[in-house]
Amino acid sequence: MAEINMLQAINDALSIALESDENSILFGEDVGHFGGVFRATSGLQEKFGRDRCFNTPLTEQGIAGFANGLASNGMVAIAEIQFADYIFPAIDQIVNETAKFRYRSGNEFNVGGVTFRTPYGGGIAGGHYHSQSPEAYFTQTAGLKVVVPRNAYQAKGLLLASIRDPNPVIFFEPKRLYRANIGEVPDEDYEIELGKAEVVREGKDITLLAWGAQVEIVEHAADMAAKKGISCEIIDLRTLAPWDVDTLATSVKKTGRLLINHEAPLTGGFAGEIAATIQEECFLYLESPIARVCGLDTPYPLIHEKEYMPDALKTFEAIKATVNF
């Protein structure tokens, strides 16, 4: 087992995916010889040829529609959208087509072979066009799976599972962890099941839920809380659609409290959906209102990025307030 970073883990997963299924094709802006602006696809064109790993013209709408067409005719399409902020030009193809291909055709056709990979999130001084977390736009769209890894190990296993899942998947990659997160990643081919949350740390006073880059933030907050004698259980949701209600509800029934942390704005964010569901599932077990520590209801700012972020300190404060409710 090698210690590698998240980009290398993604590169490895893509290489295995192309190797293990000759119907699979990888494409996107600058992903060819250059290896992508973050270098996630480095070396793959050399390995698999220009027909299977290539640059597309600069059009996300085209990339998504092309992916749909490929997959509708039996191929496995792995498309990169250079930044999640630039997924919006493709939103018609993804929301109206990718998501509904199977449903609208009565399963005569489907585009289950589509996976969109895209770097998301802030913390890199990118301002509002290189920092957004647009997952909630897609969790509201039936027919799409939405997956977010938190480390190198997960990135490889979840990406392979996403590519091979018979449904279209949007795979959000936390770009601030691309090089920062380094961990042991098996060399071999492995998958992590989609739709399953992971209990990262056991605890008894409160459940902290996050995904992607925010998991390490809540871990940090939990360490601070531990010094105050508060024991936090930490859950990484991993798949947002469809999400694992059972694992979370079981945890909340045990701890009696829940805090959800995400980087996207509070209003209309996915935390609202989770809170409402857990309130239904666990109403009689709850000892305090479900807390949400999220981005503010503003575009993602540049200079006030630190202030905007649902960071460990804000999470720590919310943990205390919830436990002492």
Binding site: D30, Y86, F88, P89, H304
Partner: protein, 392 residues
Amino acid sequence: MSNATSDNETVHRVSFLDRESVNIPILKVLQADGTVYDKAVLPAIDEALAHRIYDTCVFTRVLDERMLGAQRQGRISFYMTCTGEEASIIGSTASLDDGDVILAQYREHAAIRYRGFTTEQFMNQLFSNEKDLGKGRQMPIHYGSAELNYQTVSSPLATQIPQATGVGYSFKMQGKRNIAICYFGEGAASEGDFHAGLNMAAVLKSPTIFFCRNNGYAISTPTSEQFCGNGIASRGPGYGIHTIRVDGNDMLAVLAATQQARAYAVENHSPVLIEAMTYRLGAHSSSDDPSGYRSKDEEAKWQQHDPVKRFKLWMINKGWLTEKQDAEMYEKYRKEILAELKVAEKLPMSMLDTLIEDVYDTPTPRLKQQLKDLKKHLKKYPDSYPNSKGRL
């Protein structure tokens, strides 16, 4: 009515059109040695205009060199140069009326400079300080100024293209003899917004100049992987748009083409497409390393077409500039930029209250509440938030 089939030539054997069927001449006025081609028709230009243009060239060169350096030193987070494309950008802007609205992509800071953006204003934006007109919300190089009719740059590519069509159309409705100009790269011309913008402009007769800087690359992607047609210009006639291709490293050619394009757009309430053939001499941005996708030889070849040098030689030939004056201009801007840089980097960031401003015309009750909660938190942990520390 205008469906072309009625007056088509008829043939009786199958014959297809291809990229060679579209023959697009390229306008050149100025030669590499600074002399004008024999038969070339000069644009309207006098000594004062030439100086204003050249001054902008020198400023931009120095700014790009200095600020790329500043980025390398970690003083600013990001930078983009327009080195090699000065003639395309300045030649076109210099043909406009100050009331014409500019919608830039991001590599056109020479255009806002030409309009009068001060060195101080550049530095304020680059350092995102409290005097930045954009209130420190966007990354460096996203300039904008209502006073100078230069709409603030937005990072998503090509979104400005259909917007320009709307701006142009609004001038027509307002009865003003003004136009919109929008800049974009040959890469951005692949976006759906390009088609939407040009087709609407043609159909709705919007006085708009679509100015494509065809500089050979979109990040690492060369034009050969971007399109297969005859550049971007070949698309213009397809939309029914007046179109011209110019040597984008030739200041006088760009000036001539844009002057006439503007006159045509105003007189006919119609769009014009200009494709300027140029080259991105520098990296895509400060985050990019072009050695991974293009050769030093290729870059060296294009160095010989340096548009600033060519225009300088022309001015010297005209007796409007001396080498000594030229050197003094560079020196003046090196000093000025360094001095302004030092001031700007010390200014504080915008106040925290600006965080919730301009989301709507006035902050909603929910935003006000979020700010209140945030301030309470920041007061408790001021050291963790250096940009707002002590300035709540």
